[in-house]
């Protein structure tokens, strides 16, 4: 085993952060999208009540 192993170590940590940050971004966008949809649905409910 030589110093070239660092290439694999760097690849492993890069993949870890790509997956974690990618999933974080997915959740962040999902919360914003679903919050908007929920607010719109609630507005629809209120409109219906009027």
């Amino acid at each position: 085993m030589t110093g070239s192993n660092w290439m694999f170590v760097i690849a492993a940590y890069s993949v870890t952060w790509v997956v974690i940050l990618g999933y974080f971004a997915r959740l962040y966008r999902g919360v914003r999208r679903e919050q908007s949809a929920y607010d719109a649905a609630l507005a629809g409910t209120v409109e219906e009540e009027r």
Partner: protein, 240 residues
């Protein structure tokens, strides 16, 4: 067994931004523990610096198991009590678990190439981990394709509970079968120089998992609450 009506919302939608500081802490802690582990651990006698992959690969695998245990817990509770909140928590944990499961597989491949000379081999541990991953991809596909909320919750609770039973098989596979994969790593079985880094990274992954499950649960609650609101409109403007 009877389940409560899905048209009456039985959960409170959590505030999306309430755990912002916990998320920031979890990410900051992960950065800190990774730097700590890389800087303080000496190269392994056999594997050299490749050993440093352990600090991400092993916690990713542990968190996968833990997430699927959460799925089992809430799926069983849903089947027992029929509470919608348990179904949503199980679904959130399943998606997070599948993400960490995929990550553990990728990291294992990256470690396997220089250590074993192959990216992949049909070894018992690798194969059972892949089967676990596919079961939970199936679980997520099932949830995506079933429109009826009650049926979706019941079916996915059964699949989630059965899927989680595979976890002990994956864990014990390295002892039950002759495998290329080494036996389980834990702080008791390794050089003390590596224990702090592994423990710290395991906690960092745990905090990330908790934050992700919570945020995914918020999304699931908002989706269901939106469906409830739409149903309320359809039923004549009842409050959602």
């Amino acid at each position: 067994m009877t389940f409560p009506s899905m048209t009456a919302r039985s959960f409170v939608v959590p505030r999306p931004g309430a755990w912002r500081w916990f998320g920031a802490f979890a990410f900051g802690f992960l950065i800190f523990t990774q730097i700590l582990a890389i800087m303080t651990s000496p190269p392994d006698r056999d594997m050299g610096d490749l050993q440093k992959i352990m600090y991400v690969h092993v916690p990713a695998a542990w968190i996968t198991f833990l997430s699927f245990f959460v799925v089992l817990l809430f799926s069983a509770r849903y089947l027992w009590k029929g509470r919608e909140k348990d179904d949503l928590l199980a679904a959130a944990a399943a998606e997070v678990g599948a993400t960490f499961n995929g990550l553990a597989l990728l990291l294992g491949m990256i470690w396997g190439r220089p250590a074993w000379g192959v990216w992949w081999t049909w070894d018992a541990r690798l194969t059972s981990t892949l089967v676990l991953f596919l079961i939970f991809i199936g679980y997520l596909a099932l949830r995506a394709f079933v429109d009826d909320a009650q049926r979706r919750a019941q079916w996915s609770a059964v699949v989630g509970a059965l899927g989680a039973i595979n976890v002990p098989i994956v864990y014990m596979s390295v002892r039950w079968w002759r495998t290329l994969h080494q036996i389980q790593s834990n702080p008791a079985s390794m050089d003390p120089a590596y224990v702090l880094g592994l423990r710290a990274n395991a906690f960092a992954f745990l905090f990330i998992m908790i934050y992700f499950i919570r945020q995914r649960y918020v999304i699931a609650c908002l989706q269901r609450a939106t469906e409830h609101a739409a149903e309320a409109v359809a039923l004549g403007g009842q409050q959602a």
